[in-house]
Symmetry: C2
Subunit: 356 residues, 2 copies
């Protein structure tokens, strides 16, 4: 993206659209905003995400950032509207085969290439937008056989300009991938969380960090997630059938006391957790958790991290354990296994109560 | 627990047994250790978890901390061995109906009351033990109709002495509760993680925090978890049948494009996440996440927490987001909703890039 390019027009100035605008403005790109809700344009332009689009504006790239149910129609309209120019159209929706199918018969289909930033928020609307929303997150781009090479390049440059890490997948493969790493995990979390809704409080009082982690994403907005899942129904249903077959096997193993069968299912789970790439995209390095007791008052976390910083061991992840009934938090620090002993001893020598 | 009491004998000096020993020693209680593995006793006593049990020791309470498959037999043996005294026997196993059933016909069944500390580690053995393992964690105690009141009281005092928060449930109810808040969540995580094991790396490259959280606990040892699940097979199978019925409904809703049905399942999930008690056992307070970009080097976390500490807003939870391909971490700080604006502005005024 260079200064001499035509402007980027963003259709839909909600969380994602306004965040793309802020990130592009950060990169020096001219941004035009449109939305059926004039308040959204006012808010987003007031935040510095771009200026309201006007007649005569020259547009090089249209980014469609509308709710899933309207994507196909708005992408089509953008292709119509930019007819006679070489403008490129993309979108930032969570599924990619359906929008492409909606424009497959359009004479300008070669100018459309879809995107999907793997970033979001539990909030919505332009006020929740951020210039850093896409920094370091995967930005999927979904080429298709009819796409013009320069259209694909323009969408790649968009993903880079907003700070994303490009991942190319064809639309069908993208949808299968997000079914597996996003939509079905969300649905599994919702199924599990649904089993908690009716549980007595004295049962839930035994809850530890595990059940909290398993169910956390299920807190997301049912309206949004039902649209996302509906747009990827076929890939999601295929995987749910696989889960169901495995669940049947699990029920049989538990009911029949089949220890080998149960262990095999659990071992596949262990293999799956190891298959997820590590923090920097590489294979997972062996890491270890150290638990530190931290009195639950402002200042103690700072003191702990100041000590950890001086010790010089990089902390890969950190989690505060929720302790019912006690004003002492347990902080879980995840560090490279080879450095764990060093960190624990050094923390203990500084007066922290730490264990593994 | 007072100094004039008879000693506590711990049978099985692994992670849990040695941790009980360390925590009791911290409270000034005399602790005797036994284990079929003499190395465990040597290691645990070397760590300060107690001294090896010898002939003539007067025992007031026996804590059985052996693997799930051996619990009933070892509890029975402890009741036999303390015959003619008023010693109490408890255990720290993950299921509670099966061990009670194993001693139901024992003449001293009144002296047995089970325990279950909701604490553990992915590691095992006495070297992984810690005096703080139970601090602030739920410590379930499971009274039964034949239990002597003073036996129940002794087990309550044990849970308090090691720092736990007492929760009373009868054994069957306890097993149903842990099936729901621990065993089935673990199995659901394993089912989901199993679907990742065979996925292509380019699909997994799109993984965000959600799928990591949903599957994290599935990394646990398959041998241990298969024993735990086998010991609670009936309650686990009942819930898995419920999950299966709900999964069938989910598959139908997704396949038939039934938006209302899908939203209803997702809404039950939202209700479930809200039913889990908050950090201090009370109802969940509204909280908000603030994301802060943190260059991935030692020292930056300390600087951030020092700033947060000076700002004076209590941080309820913290999470480092894993960013493939980029040396900038996104730190998620969870704070009370009413203080979020203040924290975000103050962080930004100190030069941090923060968003919600």
């Amino acid at each position: 993206m260079t200064e001499d390019q035509a402007a980027v027009e963003i259709v839909g100035a909600g969380l994602l659209g306004a965040s793309v605008g802020l990130a592009l403005r950060r990169a020096g790109v001219e941004v035009l905003l449109t939305d059926i809700d004039a308040d959204h344009v006012r808010t987003a332009s007031g935040m510095g995400a771009g200026r309201p689009a006007g007649p005569g504006d020259r547009v090089g790239l249209v980014v469609v950032a509308v709710p899933p149910a309207h994507l196909g129609e708005v992408i089509r309209e953008a292709l119509d509207r930019t007819s006679g120019t070489d403008a490129v159209v993309t979108d930032v929706g969570s599924v990619k085969a359906a929008p492409l199918a909606a424009v497959a018969d359009h004479p300008r289909v070669g100018r459309y290439v879809g995107s999907h930033p793997m970033a979001g928020s539990e909030r919505s609307g332009p006020l929740a937008a951020s210039a850093t929303l896409f920094d370091g997150r995967p930005w999927a781009v979904t080429p298709h056989p009819a796409a013009d090479p320069d259209a694909l390049e323009a969408v790649d440059r968009l993903g880079e300009a907003v700070g994303g890490v490009l991942v190319h997948l064809d639309p069908e493969e993208h949808d299968r991938a997000v079914a597996r790493i996003s939509h079905v995990p969300h649905l599994m979390a919702a199924l599990m969380a649904g089993r908690l809704a009716e549980a007595p409080g004295r049962h839930l009082a035994l809850s530890g960090q595990g059940v909290r982690d398993v169910t956390r994403v299920a807190a997301g907005d049912p309206r949004l997630y039902s649209q996302i899942v509906a747009g990827n129904a076929s890939a999601v249903a295929d995987l749910l059938h696989e889960v169901r077959a495995e669940l049947d096997g699990l029920i049989a193993a538990v009911s029949d006391g089949d220890a080998d069968g149960l262990r095999a299912i659990l071992a596949r789970g262990v293999a799956g957790t190891r298959a997820i790439p590590g923090k920097h995209g590489g294979p997972t390095r062996p890491s270890v958790s150290i638990f530190v007791a931290v009195p639950d008052e402002p200042g103690n976390l700072a003191r702990l991290f100041a000590d950890a910083g001086e010790i010089g061991v990089n902390i890969e992840d950190v989690h505060i354990d929720h302790d019912p009934g006690r004003p002492v938090g347990l902080l879980e620090l995840t560090v490279e296994a080879a450095r764990a002993e060093e960190l624990q001893s050094a923390l203990e020598s500084r007066g922290w109560v730490a264990h593994r």
